[in-house]
């Protein structure tokens, strides 16, 4: 008897838990088509029906109530969500913050509305880094992607910052609608371009065979090649190549190396630097012994590019005799801040698009607005972030009939043609890459980046 007593209690407890749990689902269920799983059902999918059943059931769950009410306003009005997934904890923060700022700016300009005010857009900046790691974390990115996949009000995913992270989230989001991704920063060619990455790329990232990933930045295969030919134009014959041992930097340096060899530059050597080392004087001593006339660095500011340039100068390689070239990863004021005006003087950078300060017309307006709004010079990444958000907004405006239809938004994004943005006029090709292949080359002069020339890619 006594033994059964607690068994009964336990069962009662569990039953209650189950009933409550199921109850929550059931109350949401009537709002959606009966075949949809309760968890996935959100009243917004069928606003009209939702309006009819909006009277809360006795155990109406608050979570379910939110969208119901939004939808209950009748008409095509809806609240949809855009999220970004970027590493906001740790060393990438500088760049990612400018991206988020620019996205917010784009949304603010539209007053967070689309379709003539019928659609309200909310934005959340997710972090794919963790404090414990201080950098992007694979399981955090996987989690973010899963979370986005599950939340039906999300129609676009702006991210990722790191190409490695994109490799994880693309397949997840590919199977969730597909949910369109727009990256403001990934440059790894294999994410989109067949034959440019490893075997099986990029198809292995798209299980549904439908592409859902686009990027507003040109991929490394362009930038690396453009860098090499610019190096040749600048009169370099012997180059030494460094990378920061990360996916972005190493990939870029690989392309640069291959292109340099193809166009007849002599590659003296190749090394990877530890981005957290205190200095690189020993390495620079070795490089100096080889007498290169250009050092190419594939990497980002955060991986100690400033120190690298400083030590290069300290080892006796002055700007006049040995040039230093880097990609858009160091195209930011922070790089000059880190290297110091003197050491940075004369450094060359390549960049996929027109530098912010060179913009004209509408783009110039954006540039001024950003400066006013955030009290800072917009960095290269800000442009990409802004452009990505604008593309999403345009896509939403094209699918007003059903603003929560991920497929429609994806199609609209991929259909982006001759878009006049702050980077110029461009389109997405069938791979989701920008057709903007014109690059710009800049050089540090008196502590500022100055536009030097437009670089055509072959």
């Amino acid at each position: 008897m006594k033994r059964t007593q607690w068994l009964v209690l336990l069962t009662a407890l569990l039953m209650l838990a189950v009933t409550v749990a199921c109850g929550g689902g059931q109350t949401a269920a009537p709002a959606a088509a009966p075949t949809t799983a309760p968890a996935a059902a959100k009243p917004t999918e069928a606003p009209a029906k939702a309006a009819a059943t909006a009277a809360p059931a006795p155990t109406q769950a608050p979570a379910a109530a939110k969208p119901t009410e939004a939808a209950a306003k009748a008409g095509p009005s809806a609240t949809i969500k855009i999220v970004s997934s970027l590493p906001m904890t740790g060393s990438s923060l500088g760049q990612t913050q400018t991206v988020v700022n620019a996205i917010k700016q784009a949304l603010d300009e539209a007053q967070s509305k689309a379709c003539n005010g019928a659609v309200t857009i909310t934005f959340e900046a997710w972090d794919d880094a963790t404090a414990a790691r201080g950098a992007w974390d694979p399981d955090q990115e996987t989690q973010n992607a899963n979370k986005a996949a599950a939340d039906k009000s999300i129609v676009a995913y702006i991210g990722t910052f790191n190409s490695g992270a994109a490799k994880l989230s693309i397949p997840i989001l590919n199977q969730a609608g597909p949910l369109v991704m727009i990256s403001p920063a990934n440059t790894y060619p294999g994410l989109t371009k067949p034959g440019k990455g490893e075997a099986g790329e990029p198809d292995k990232y798209y299980p549904t065979k439908v592409r859902n990933y686009t990027r507003v930045v040109p991929a490394d295969d362009l930038q690396g090649a453009v860098g090499a030919s610019w190096a040749k134009q600048l009169g370099a014959t012997k180059v030494y190549i460094l990378d920061d041992q990360e996916l972005y930097g190493k990939g870029l340096a690989d392309v640069f190396e291959a292109s340099a060899k193809k166009i007849g530059l002599q590659v003296l050597g190749r090394d990877g630097i530890d981005g957290k080392a205190q200095d690189y004087r020993a390495l620079m001593t070795k490089i100096k012994g080889l007498n290169p006339d250009l050092i190419y660095y594939g990497g980002i500011t955060q991986n100690n590019a400033g120190q690298l340039v400083k030590d290069m100068r300290a080892a006796g390689m002055a700007a006049a005799t040995t040039k230093f070239m880097g990609p858009d990863g160091i195209f930011e004021q922070a790089f000059i801040d880190a290297a110091g005006k003197d050491a940075a003087e004369g450094v060359y950078v390549t960049f996929g698009g027109i530098p912010p300060a060179k913009l004209e017309g509408d783009a110039k307006k954006w540039y001024d607005a950003y400066k006013a709004k955030f009290n800072a010079e917009p960095e290269a990444y800000a442009v990409y972030g802004y452009e990505a958000a604008k593309v999403v907004l345009a896509a939403i405006n094209k699918s007003c009939a059903n603003p929560t239809d991920r497929k429609a938004i994806r199609d609209a994004v991929f259909a982006t043609k001759d878009y006049k943005g702050v980077l110029g006029t461009w389109s997405f090709d069938e791979n989701g890459d920008t057709t903007l292949t014109d690059m710009s080359g800049s050089q540090v002069k008196a502590g500022k980046f100055e536009f030097v020339s437009t670089l055509k890619s072959q």
Binding site: A21, T59, A125, D139, K147, A150, K167
Partner: protein, 513 residues
């Protein structure tokens, strides 16, 4: 105030913190936990006259905790949300409903625990275990229904719990400070990656291959535990720690750079391996991607985005780990580890082979991280060298020490708290505070410079590191011996205190002589 109310309040307050952060129906999960927690806490403080008293007491404690949660839900819905600029999504009625459900559930959970704890030893243990198992099984469904979205986070947290359990063998049982445990995690993950992907042309594409590979990964990791453990044998204390740290640094570098493997005989120059084309063993920075997923009859292929199969797989791995580790612990080998930790010389004089015992500890610890690594590789479906750096080793060590060295429950709890704070609570806190700042504070600041300062420098989402550090420091200060210290360890701690007092006492007497 009766003890029932008091414990109810303490458990409830903890739960309220979470409810304030997440709102919605999080109170349901928290209610269950807080109710049961309050009753267990109460049981440790009160002698029960009879079962009914226990049930009533448990129910009271649970109900009190539940009431606090109810209050928390109101604060969240009616006060915090508007402050954070989110529309008041719910009618007060539904907030009340959610709160009341939490109260009822908490009271029921408390009563159930009350009923169970007054049983005799065996049914009591079985009962508590039953409750726990029920909760663990129910959790993902509950989570799905109330749309908290915690399950993916919990899965990745549980991976770290497996690792912490493994490290606990090395640090907790055998007393060897290991600062490079991530190395074995990496070895397990890479083994899985190499076997379950086309990277080196193996791509073992049988539906059931994962179930074999996870054992291979564990075995390989264990083997490396032996290999890397061997050089550390003559070392003690922090010298040992630094060598393990060294291995922890070396292993990821090796994985990062084995992209062009080509071996030539040094004297004759004949090529032995990678002659036609240098072998790309590990994929370098890009790592190995994709890695295939497990398959099970009925469940089918596991897929990212479908949490349930993964959740239950990692729970099963943890259960197996706990099961095996507790067998080890209560065996001749487990006793040898503890004896060695207590007094290496005496242990050796009692016939314990120190070399073998140490190596076994390293190997077993590494083996369990192999399980974790295999799961991780398959779950993320990719691996890169950057994942296994020093910070991972340090965090796992924190979990073990914070939970209570040598105590399985403590280590699990420590792991849950640290990782959940890092991945769930602190980001949510930062977001919430940031929203409040943006909507309720920023507009009130007129001075643009000040506004800019607040917007960029006082951004709470930038204080995750600080909050995380504070969590570690405060928890250590509050519970220096760990959350649930091993009985033995606790004794040790108080012995040290008593010892210090005794010395002080002698010191006081000494000058009088």
């Amino acid at each position: 105030m009766s003890p029932a109310v008091r414990t109810g309040i303490s458990a409830g307050l903890l739960a309220v913190v979470v409810v304030l952060l997440f709102g919605n129906l999080s109170g349901v999960v928290l209610g269950l936990l807080a109710g049961a927690g309050a009753a267990i806490l109460l049981d440790s403080r009160v002698e029960w006259p009879n079962r009914n008293a226990a049930i009533v007491g448990g129910a009271t404690a649970g109900a009190v905790a539940g009431l606090l949660i109810l209050v928390g839900q109101f604060i969240h819905d009616l006060f915090l949300m508007p402050l954070a600029g989110q529309p008041v999504a719910t009618a007060p009625g539904s907030t009340l409903q959610a709160g009341l459900i939490a109260v009822v559930l908490a009271a029921l959970a408390g009563a159930a625990v009350g009923a169970i704890v007054t049983q005799a030893e065996r049914p009591r243990q079985l009962g508590l275990l039953g409750l726990l198992v029920a909760f663990v099984i129910l959790f993902p469904f509950l989570d799905q229904q109330i749309q908290l979205g915690w399950t993916p986070t919990v899965i990745s947290v549980l991976i770290y719990v497996v690792l912490a359990l493994g490290l606990n063998i090395v640090v907790g049982y055998a007393g060897l400070l290991d600062l490079g445990y991530a190395a074995f995690f990496a070895i397990g993950a890479y083994t899985t990656g190499l076997l379950l992907s086309p990277q080196i042309g193996i791509n073992w594409d049988h539906p059931l291959s994962f179930w074999l590979v996870i054992w291979i990964a564990a075995a390989v990791a264990g083997l490396f535990g032996l290999i890397l453990g061997a050089p550390t044998l003559p070392l003690r204390g922090d010298y040992l720690a630094i060598v393990t740290l060294g291995f922890g640094e070396i292993v990821p570098i090796v994985f990062r750079n084995l992209t062009r493997v080509e071996i030539k005989e040094p004297f004759t120059g004949t090529c032995l391996i990678g002659c036609d084309k240098a072998i790309n063993l590990t994929g370098g920075e890009a790592g190995i991607n994709p890695i295939s997923h497990p398959w099970l009859p009925l469940v089918g292929q596991f897929r990212t985005g479908q949490d349930l199969p993964w959740y239950f797989l990692i729970v099963a791995i943890i259960a197996l780990t706990i099961f095996l580790i507790s067998r080890l612990r209560n065996s001749r080998l487990g006793r040898a580890w503890t004896a060695m930790r207590e007094d290496e010389l005496a242990a050796s004089s009692m016939g314990i082979d120190i070399v073998r015992t140490k190596l076994l500890a390293f190997a077993m610890g590494a083996t369990f991280s192999g399980f974790g690594g295999a799961f991780f590789a398959s779950y993320i479906s990719a691996i890169f060298p950057g994942v296994f750096d020093f910070s991972v080793s340090v965090i796992i060590l924190c979990m073990v020490i914070l939970g209570g060295l040598g105590n399985i429950t403590g280590v699990i709890l420590g792991g849950l708290i640290i990782m959940m704070s890092d991945r769930l609570f602190l980001p949510q806190l930062a977001t919430l505070v940031k929203n409040i700042l943006n909507t309720s504070v920023l507009p009130t600041i007129a001075d643009p410079a000040m506004k800019d300062f607040v917007a960029t420098s006082v951004d709470p989402s930038q204080f995750r590191l600080l909050l995380f550090g504070l969590t570690l420091v405060i928890m250590m200060l509050v519970r220096p011996e760990g959350l649930i210290p091993n009985v033995r360890r606790r004794a040790e701690f108080h012995e040290a205190e008593a010892g210090a007092e005794a010395t002080v006492a002698t010191e006081a007497k000494a000058p009088a002589k």
